[in-house]
């Protein structure tokens, strides 16, 4: 692909069409449990929503505020609006060719595709066979976007409930289809081993061998907010603010685990990307892990590499609004930071991404800008990019 604008989003969300699963999963085997868009009643109104594993089973993921498709960035005014029926979903959200026009309009060259509705995973129903079939269908559907344009960099989901060899096989199969990374939960449901457990070593091994990063998005499924009871005094918007802001601590939870349990040292070529969790969190991670390592002489405990070296070698983070964080980019690691748009979600600045890029990067040198805006992403994802002499 050609770098025309000099901007790659390392975190966008693919909006699959309503037939993405029905045309790929066996109707004989799964019937109405196949993820699909159905009509439901919300507050007395007839609306459409995605249903996973059949309505009313308790596993329907998106009956809440994000409508039938989480794409407020392309819905126009008033912002944010979420489409209530599939006919209201703009094709530039769900059609890979139409969406390229949105990318051109926002002057974005390429985007890394994280999931959207119906679900970031298919663990809900606790049905191993269903999870596998749904994940395979998802990975196949997103691979089609890749075939439509090499400006899309898809990330695969994994069937957590399957045997580890099946998981590894699905990662390899997805890679063959064009996926360039794996999206993972930081905290898995009870009953599955913790992320840092040796059970998952084959996942790190295969990603390392294929040279594709693993990803932790937003809260990465960490549960702390779930254990804090909801406070009735918040307005809907204040509730959103108070539940979203603590995502800033995700890297501060997951990275020390990867460091001190030895995963990063054991898999030195493994790359981990933290999307939609800000970049400033790495300042804390680096300082606290080095402090504990030095104070407790952790090289005597089998951790021979200084944590900050591990982090700079293997951890990548994304920015979109943080001007303060960008000022400390050299403390965080100038090669470890990528831009993200979050398109078409509520945090996206589409179609004015560049306005905010310029605001956040004020005073940043040309060399640094290129790294932050697209060069680091080209390196992390091995993007076959033709970069013009002067962008």
């Amino acid at each position: 692909m050609e770098i025309k604008f000099g901007l790659i989003s390392a975190d966008s969300h693919v909006a699959l069409d309503r037939d993405a699963f029905t045309k790929r999963m066996s109707a004989a085997k799964w019937g109405e449990r196949i993820p699909q868009v159905i009509e439901v009643e919300v507050d007395g109104r007839k609306v459409e929503r995605w249903s996973v594993y059949a309505k009313g089973s308790g596993s329907d993921a998106n009956f809440g505020v994000s409508g039938v498709c989480n794409c407020p960035a392309v819905m126009g005014d008033p912002f944010p609006t979420y489409p209530e029926r599939w006919e209201d979903v703009p094709r530039r959200a769900t059609d890979p060719i139409e969406r390229l026009k949105a990318l051109d309009e926002d002057r974005v060259d390429a985007e890394v595709l994280f999931p959207n509705n119906p679900a970031p995973n298919f663990l809900g129903p606790k049905d191993k066979d269903f999870e596998l079939d749904a994940v395979v269908a998802y990975n196949d559907a997103v691979a089609e976007w890749r075939r439509a344009s090499d400006r899309y960099v898809p990330l695969a989901l994994v069937p957590y409930l399957s045997d580890i060899s099946v998981i590894v096989g699905e990662i390899e199969r997805s890679y063959e289809l064009g996926h360039r990374g794996v999206n993972l939960l930081g905290q898995l449901p009870k009953g599955l081993p913790l992320l840092t457990d040796p059970h998952w070593y084959p996942v790190w091994e295969v990603c390392q061998a294929l040279g594709v990063p693993v990803h932790f998005h937003g809260s990465a499924g960490l549960q702390p907010s779930a254990s804090i009871p909801r406070w009735d005094g918040y307005s809907i918007r204040a509730l959103h603010s108070s539940s979203t802001t603590p995502s800033s601590v995700t890297p501060g939870q997951v990275i020390p685990n990867l460091v001190f349990s030895g995963v990063l040292e054991r898999f030195p070529q493994l790359k981990c990307v933290f999307a939609e969790a800000g970049i400033g969190g790495l300042n804390y991670v680096i300082a606290v892990c080095d402090h504990e390592w030095e104070t407790r002489h952790l090289w005597t405990e089998g951790l021979s590499t200084r944590p900050s070296e591990l982090v700079r070698r293997q951890i990548f983070v994304n920015f979109w609004f943080e001007s303060g964080g960008i000022q400390l980019r050299h403390n965080i690691g100038i090669d470890n930071i990528m831009w993200e748009s979050d398109f078409p979600h509520v945090a996206s600045y589409y179609p004015h991404s560049w306005e905010h890029v310029e605001r956040v990067l004020e005073g940043v040198s040309e060399d640094d800008r290129r790294k932050l805006l697209y060069e680091n992403a080209i390196n992390v994802y091995g993007i076959d990019a033709k970069v013009p002499a002067a962008v």
Binding site: G186, Q187, P193, L194, T196, P224, S225, S227, I228, P229, W231, D232, G233, Y234, S235, R237, A238, H240, S241, S242, T244, T245, P246, S247, S248, V249, G252, Q253, V254, P256, N257, F260, S261, G262, G278, I279, G280, G281, N283, Y284, A287, V288, C289, H291, E292, W293, T295, R296, L298, E301, F321, E322, S323, G324, G325, Q327, L328, N331, V346, A347
Partner: protein, 375 residues
């Protein structure tokens, strides 16, 4: 106030001795429910309260002053006296260059959370009052270089308020409150107006409210089994500020800080470096969600800059001070926890305050703390 070294440590821990509660609570009334040290089947000693093992089954939390920092004592007779004897503690402060030391508990919880788990309010109050009295009698009386802070009964607010008034009257200069009370027992959400009397009495008496990290280990991502104690402990220390992120988020978006403008909040053992991202994120989200139209007079960062403090012991000051101000930063040694900078606090301070102008350096190391605690 006399300064010899130019450092007030705003976050150190006393180690409660085995007879603290047994000598102050009625054996006839409470029997074995009184916090005490007992021997486990493997010969090690541990604290037991009302039938529950506390302090993760340790007898003390004093890694920094043990021969090997990664091995906590197994028996009380291995605990160095500087952990629990004021006279010995003063010598340690001399050795590490510390003028004043602001005190938090250990058995009673690093964030003062232990007795909040009791469902018997009478026993809770008895344990809390014994600690508060002991700290004044033993430490406060030993030297004015110790700055005692009281713990409080978790609930109801009236009980907390009464104990705060009593303790401050006896000489306590700060109020330690566990920031996630609803994780300890069935009490209202920390944002609720039911807590207003507690915040109000702190404003009235001019004592800071101290929310120490680790108030809820449930918020921390668990480490996997099989890690060595040193690695598991390092991991737990590294993820501890997660509770601070949640506490300050709720204090801001619930308008608690706006409605209590004189309340000063110390985020104990918070570190500095996550604070910048927190404030940028909170302000960004605040604007993005349209909260300026919902009756907030200030942005989250403005609330913080008016009323809150971060405490550090290991991270670089200058980059973050430029962002939220030198007047928001307090220093500590975290003595005698394993994460403490003891006995190399001087060299750590030199490294962390590199590039900080002398006047600002003084504020971070003692000026802000002296003003906050009225020393």
């Amino acid at each position: 106030m006399q300064l010899k070294y130019g450092l007030i440590s705003v976050d150190d821990h006393v180690q409660e001795p085995p007879d603290l509660w047994t000598s102050r609570l009625s054996k006839a009334k409470w029997g074995d429910r009184i916090p005490h040290v007992e021997q486990a089947s493997d010969g090690s000693e541990r604290w037991v309260l009302d039938g529950q093992v506390v302090l993760d089954g340790h007898v003390a939390d004093v890694g920094a002053i043990m021969p090997d920092r990664n091995h906590e004592p197994r028996r009380w007779d291995e605990v160095p006296a500087a952990a629990y004897r004021p006279a010995e503690r003063l010598k340690a402060m001399e050795a590490d260059g510390v003028d004043y030391s602001v005190l938090y508990p250990t058995v009673a919880g690093h964030a003062g959370e232990t007795f909040g788990r009791l469902t018997d309010p009478e026993l809770e109050l008895a344990c809390v009052q014994a600690y508060n009295d002991w700290l004044i009698d033993e430490w406060g009386a030993a030297s004015d270089r110790f700055v005692p802070q009281c713990i409080v009964p978790l609930w109801p607010a009236e009980a907390a308020v009464a104990e705060i008034r009593r303790a401050v009257g006896r000489g306590h200069r700060g109020v330690i409150y566990p920031g996630m009370p609803m994780h300890l027992r069935d009490v209202p959400h920390i944002n609720g107006s039911e807590y207003n009397p507690i915040w109000s009495v702190c404003e009235e008496l001019g004592v800071p409210l101290c929310l120490h990290a680790g108030a809820s280990t449930r918020l921390q991502y668990a480490s996997r089994e099989g890690l060595s104690p040193a690695l598991a402990d390092a991991l737990s220390a590294a993820t501890r500020p997660v509770s601070s992120v949640y506490m300050i988020t709720h204090f801001s978006f619930s308008k608690t800080l706006i409605e209590h403008p004189k309340l000063r909040v110390v985020m104990g053992e918070s570190a500095l470096s996550w604070g910048m991202l927190y404030m940028e994120w909170a302000d960004h989200q605040f604007e993005h969600d349209g909260l300026p139209r919902e009756g907030y007079e200030m942005k989250p960062s403005e609330m913080f800059k008016r009323q809150c403090f971060f405490t550090s012991w290991f991270d670089n000051v200058a980059p973050y001070a430029d962002f939220y101000g030198y007047d928001r930063i307090l220093w500590s040694t975290n003595y005698p926890l394993a994460t403490s900078t003891w006995p190399r606090t001087r060299e750590t301070v030199t490294r962390c305050l590199e590039g900080v102008p002398p006047a600002e350096r003084d504020r971070v190391l003692w000026g802000n703390a002296a003003a906050l605690y009225g020393l």
